[in-house]
């Protein structure tokens, strides 16, 4: 009997939870806020679904009900992607100065 592809995806999912578990426990507590903002940014990879939906319109009707939801989702996800990564970068930049500040 063939294995349903769903089982493969489920395996990836479960293994990723384990990876997440171990990786996140090793995150230093002082970086928990950047952790949240970066997880925010990466979860916006949901934008791939939005792009597929948005590009589904034909050249006669770029905007149909389904693609409009896609377009809005693109805006929402893009806000998150840019905002999330940039604000994380801004925070991490502040953790930089260490010894050069002892003037």
């Amino acid at each position: 009997m063939e294995i349903d592809p769903f089982i493969f995806r489920l395996s990836i999912f479960i293994l990723s939870i384990f990876i997440g578990y171990y990786v996140v426990w090793s995150v230093t507590p002082s970086l928990h806020t950047p952790l949240m903002s970066v997880t925010n940014a990466i979860s916006s990879v949901i934008i791939v679904g939005a792009i597929i939906a948005a590009l589904a319109g034909t050249s006669e009707s770029i905007f149909n009900t389904s693609s409009i939801f896609g377009f809005i989702a693109i805006i929402l996800a893009a806000i998150n992607i840019f905002g999330g990564f940039l604000v994380t970068q801004r925070m991490l930049q502040m953790y930089k100065k260490k010894k050069d500040k002892k003037k």
């Binding site: 990836i12 997440g20 990786v23 903002s37 389904s66």
Partner: protein, 466 residues
């Protein structure tokens, strides 16, 4: 146009880059590199999506326009937001992820053929279940985060909103969602799909309104987790590895943070969810208030004490952030260091409004991160230190948590501030903190209360240290 198999491999690559992005956060030195991995993963995922569709009609122009609009808004927010407002920002971002998940699920439901899920009215059963779960969790994340955002912003009162039958109502609605999804699978009816989403919005609101301001760190972490599960649900629908991996990572990350926050407050996850904390503890605080004597001092006394100390531990709390005192505080510390006084910072896990919030605020004020210590790393040092300078923290220093089993915060890990030779406590008044209980520390012999605004007091101390 690239083949589906190749695309899947690239999605796997971007999933791995996301794992490395989180891995980088294990130390501040590697964290920036990690962030670049994350950005690279995102760029790969987006490019591969374009290439695998290969439909470069006029639609793509609009996609890019919308991408740029969103990106500009996001970048603008990221540069403008003050660090004190990080909790609201993160809550706001969670709501966007949630809503995006809902919209993608709707798009997939309306036009399943595009996603290879079957046809309208005849969507594959597994896909239908996955997309409705994704949509439901996304909707809960959205409305819950909006409430969290409003509470953190102060637009809505942080006080818990409770009514009788609340939990039963939530339970019924929760079961209702599952029953509706079951019928949705049988009938493929669009109306049921919409109803699931609407009820989920409602559940999100009902879930967060009973949770009080003090529990916000848990709420934000929890919503972080939900946004991950929503993304994973959509990932299953779209059969997209990058989304599944990311969803699982974010979901477990949020769950771990919630656990850490709960433990730091000695609260069970269930009791946080059920809410109502911080609402009614008014009885015991009245009894003690008026009788006990309190020693209070001014900036001059504080400066004198600290000047003659050889080691000082700073205990910052959210009050410091509210008063924007972090920069003045660092100035004070610089002065102390010039006098060869050893200064360290002690941070309680729930000192801010979200996990790690206080660390970011100190980092913003140019405090080197190797002077900042977590609770378990520094708690033994209080006994050997001369002065503890408590600024804007309250409940996290309350010795009652160790001594009085009747106290609502009993068992919560606290900073052993009272073991210091002397304690300087900057506070506006003797009012209790979030937990609504009196702090015994105020009345100890070695405590000197400095009644003032945190920023003003710190600035005055700086002047007196000249």
């Amino acid at each position: 146009m690239i083949s589906a198999n190749l695309a899947a491999i690239f999605y796997l690559v971007s999933g791995i880059l996301f794992i490395l992005a989180l891995r980088g956060l294990s130390s501040p030195d590697t964290s920036r590199q990690g962030n670049y991995f994350g950005i690279a993963g995102m760029i790969i995922a987006i490019l591969v999506t374009f290439l695998s569709i290969g439909n470069f009609s006029t639609s793509i122009v609009y996609v890019i326009i919308f991408l740029v609009i969103g990106g500009t808004i996001g970048a603008f927010i990221a540069f403008k937001i003050p660090m004190t407002a990080m909790p609201e920002l993160v809550a706001g971002f969670h709501s966007l992820v949630g809503l995006a998940a809902v919209f993608v699920a709707i798009a997939a439901f309306l036009n399943p053929a595009t996603f290879n899920l079957g046809n309208v009215g005849d969507i594959k059963l597994a896909s239908l279940i996955e997309m409705s779960i994704g949509a439901a969790v996304g909707a809960i994340t959205f409305s819950g985060s909006i409430i969290a955002f409003l509470k953190l912003r102060g637009i809505m009162s942080g006080a818990p909103i409770t009514f009788s039958g609340q939990h039963i109502l939530n339970l019924i609605l929760g079961i209702g969602i599952f029953v509706l999804i079951f019928y949705l699978c049988k009938t493929q009816s669009a109306n049921i799909f919409w109803t699931v989403i609407i009820i989920s919005f409602l559940v999100g609101v009902l879930l967060i309104i009973p949770i009080g301001g003090a529990d916000m760190p848990v709420v934000i972490s929890m919503l972080n987790s939900y946004s991950g599960w929503a993304a994973a649900g959509i990932g299953f629908t779209l059969e997209n590895t990058a989304l599944i991996i990311t969803g699982a990572l974010v979901g477990s990350s949020g769950a771990i943070l919630s656990y850490i926050m709960c433990k730091a407050m000695n609260r069970s996850f269930v009791s946080v969810i059920l809410g109502g904390f911080g609402a009614d503890n008014s009885t015991d605080k009245k009894e003690q208030k008026d009788q006990k004597p309190v020693k209070s001092g001014n900036a001059e006394d504080a400066a004198f004490l600290m000047k003659n100390a050889s080691s000082v531990i700073i205990v910052p709390g959210y009050g410091m952030a509210v008063a924007q005192a972090q920069h003045a505080l660092r100035e004070m510390v610089d002065k102390l260091k010039k006098n060869d006084i050893k200064v360290t910072y002690a941070i309680h896990p729930v000192a801010g409004r979200m996990p790690g919030h206080m660390n970011v605020l100190l980092a913003e004020a140019n405090v080197p991160y190797d002077e900042v210590f977590e609770l378990e790393d520094i708690n033994n040092d209080f006994a050997n230190s001369d002065v503890a300078f408590v600024i804007g923290a309250n409940d996290v220093t309350n010795p009652v948590a160790k001594t009085d089993p009747k106290s609502p915060i009993f068992g919560m890990p606290v900073l052993d501030v009272e073991k210091c030779k002397s304690v300087l406590f900057v506070k506006r008044s003797l009012s209790p903190g979030y937990a609504g209980i009196d702090n015994e520390l105020f009345y100890k012999d070695n405590t000197l209360m400095l009644f003032a605004d945190a920023k003003k007091m710190t600035e005055d101390i700086v002047k007196n240290l000249e």
